[in-house]
């Protein structure tokens, strides 16, 4: 019986995409990892499936149990487990750096140096976690809307009064990334949100709801994730993706090994694989911009800017509160 959320070397869920062409294992140090590890992830199902499939081919001796849940549930589960002693997952692969940073700060993540991590810009990694792909916060616009805004500030244009949408940082990690960027990095600061609110901008829960809203015509424009916009476009929804001239807000989705893991070699080998060329190709194959430009995938269509995660860390509550002071919710 196929165990849905845990494709493994032995059983591979049917909806798993074919692993990338050259899945030749990269030269691994002796001895070959084996046993069972558990992956805690909030990354979308398709992506996880693809990567795990590839990994299992490369490491037939390792069984990977996948526990996938939205960030909130995953975090809650981990919190509960911590009170029982330790995190029961071996590898964490999350959507955005926020929570990983927290775990790192609590020394819950293993500090080591993946060989594959060499190429990664320090901006997208820490001592114990490494970016695996990019989520780009971009602008989406209804096809029938004449000329879309070209920059973020354009969202506040009177033309879009009551017809622009943004995701709620309280619900979506990516939206929080945007908040962090505007609050800390950009010149505008929180005024950006003030002006949006003043212009009757509506907040919905997630980037996907923004895309859907724009597609349905509830909104003319909105702030969403490139992946979400692309999926809609390819399926034929009447929307267009606009890459902000002042740069898409790029967040990296980090992976790391739990310090308390009982099977470090296997756990590490999984991280290595995710960061390796084939892993990156698999990620790219599911519509995300991989951390390695060489792996292909949808290229950034314009400049990218990066939230100051270090700066945002520890100030989440404060940032959210000041945001809610503007948007409520």
């Amino acid at each position: 019986e196929a165990t849905p959320s845990s494709p493994s070397a032995t059983a591979v869920g049917p909806s798993v995409e074919p692993s990338s062409p050259e899945a030749t294992p990269t030269a691994t140090p002796v001895p070959a990892p084996s046993g069972t590890i558990r992956l805690y992830t909030s990354v979308t199902q398709a992506t996880v499936d693809a990567v795990i499939a590839g990994y299992s081919d490369a490491h037939p001796d390792v069984t990977v149990e996948v526990f996938r849940a939205p960030t909130g549930e995953l975090a809650a589960r981990i919190a509960a487990e911590l009170r029982d002693g330790r995190i029961l997952g071996d590898v964490l692969w999350l959507t955005d750096p926020l929570s990983v940073q927290a775990y790192a700060a609590q020394d819950l993540l293993r500090t080591w140096e993946p060989t594959e991590a060499s190429g990664i810009d320090p901006a997208y990694r820490g001592e114990s976690y490494w970016g695996t792909r990019f989520l780009n916060m971009v602008i989406v616009r209804g096809s029938d809307v004449a000329a879309g805004p070209l920059s973020w500030s354009g969202l506040a244009d009177p033309a879009y009064r009551d017809a622009a949408a943004i995701p709620d940082p309280g619900f979506a990690g990516s939206a929080f990334g945007a908040l962090g960027y505007f609050a800390l990095s950009s010149s505008t600061g929180l005024d950006f949100y003030t002006s949006l609110k003043a212009n009757g901008t509506v907040q919905v829960r997630t980037p996907d709801e923004v895309t859907a809203g724009v597609a349905e015509g509830r909104f003319k424009v909105g702030m969403t994730l490139d992946n979400s916009a692309r999926t809609a476009v390819t399926k034929g929804s009447p929307v267009t993706m606009v890459w902000p001239t002042d740069g898409a807000i790029a967040m990296y989705s980090p992976v790391g090994v739990v310090d308390a893991t009982a099977n470090a070699p296997a756990a590490e080998s999984l991280v290595e694989y995710v960061l390796s060329e084939p892993g990156q190709v698999a990620i790219a194959g599911t519509g995300w911009q991989p951390i390695r430009p060489s792996a292909g995938g949808p290229p950034p269509e314009g400049p990218q800017v990066y939230p100051d995660w270090q700066g945002a860390f520890g100030r989440q509550a404060e940032l959210l509160d000041s945001y809610r002071a503007i948007f409520g919710g």
Binding site: A2, A46, F67, R68, P70, A79, L98, T211, L320, G329
Partner: protein, 542 residues
Amino acid sequence: MVEALPVRRVAWLTAAGLVAAIIGWPMIRLFGVAFERGIGTVLETLTGPQATAAIWNSLWTGAIVAVLAVASGTGAALLTERSALPGRRWLRAGLLLPLLVPPFVTAFGWARAFGPRGLTDQVLGVALPGMYGPLGIVVVLVVAATPISYLIVAGALASRVEPDLERAARASGATWPEALWTITLPLLRPALLSALVVAFVFAINAFGVPAVLGTPAGFATITTRLYQDLALSADPTAFVRATTMAATLVVVALVVVGSADALFVGRGAARTALPSGSGLTRGRRAVAAGLGAVIVLTTLLPLVALVLSALTRATGLDPVPANWTLDNFASALDSRFLGGLAHSLVLAVAAATVVLVLGAIGVAARHGRSRALGTAITLGFAVPGSALAVAVLLAYGGWLRDTLAIILVAYVAKFWALGHRQLAGSVERLPGDQVRAARASGAGAVDAFRSVVVPTLRPSVIAAWLVVFVFALHELTMSSLLYGPGNATLAVIVLNVQQLGDPTITAAMAVLLVGVVAIAAVPLAIAGFGREPANLRERVSP
């Protein structure tokens, strides 16, 4: 003055023990976490402007929803159970329909149907103003909660019937509304209270609806706030904040439920009456038609909207045949789905049955102290899923982690109240002599309970089982937190697909989910309520 049976005591002890294990212990763990940083932190969390706003919002929406839902549920019950409306069977089924739809889907469907750019908007150019915001939340929650109160009240009405009671009122010069007000409703009071309590609690820990409809209006409730805190709960303080919120919800429920139960005190057994039906001799068709219309509008239309968007190739395209496709269903209906379905069915049946047995024990344990019992049981229902799941994890994660068993524990803790309330509400009005007659015929206490009490309550019993079954089949939050590798539930699969962020596929999933539930539940519903109670065959006009 009924003799204190040993059986009673045993039942009470059993029930109490189970309550302590399944609800009490997890709650203690929960509060432990909430207070671990000291009362100061708790107060700080609760007194923050946003927190107070959220609590207040939960309270007032909860109250309004409870009142409206019970009002409409009772009205419907009186119509279908108390007068010979044409097509009663179908009306009953229709009234129960919303039960089959998971609340988050209901919200989704309503938005699609009546929201801006929704079905009515596209076809007629009219959208429900305030669909996004408190109004929408209340309306949708009322629709979702009505069937529950309908079941409780209808069960009570059908469980014990004495037409003469209401006739006596009429013969005393009371018009039928008067008789309703002075006789029927007072006799239904225990059931009405149960319904109020359950509806209120249902409303204050609803998440999907306020999340989808509230966010655009910046309208937060305890549950949405809780969710947001959990999302950040990699940060330990955030996690404590979350549990604090959950604990608050528990306290709120404790107060409301407790005071409601206090009203039971000193109430002797009451019997309800079916009317002669002469109350509604004329205009039965009109009434039936009206009721039908309401059902179509509130329940069927949203479902239609849902199906349409599930059929549409991509969001935003007009839902016309040109744009139709089954791909969404295809990508929804994969092996995961079937696996999840299997797990969910097992869990739902198990949960419903266990809850019923527990409910029976609770009823058998009925006397003074069992009110405290009822209150305690209702708490489980009051805690939002995510918090309850965390609590259960804290309490039993050690042994049961990643098994279906731990999910079952959580389900039982959550849905026990539904079974208990329903049965207690109805059993309140079983006359002692009937049970005595059984005993005097040689039936032991348990035997008498099985052969006389249970059958007399048959409608309520089936209702209770169905509600729990359906709720368990829908259950989203708890299982997505508790499932382990290899035993994801249906709802978890749906959730994961939803994460793909494609509304059309989500719609497809939702439609499938509803379909599954319908296939499983409707036959039972017909079996349970299709049969006319004897009394109806009796004195209702041919």
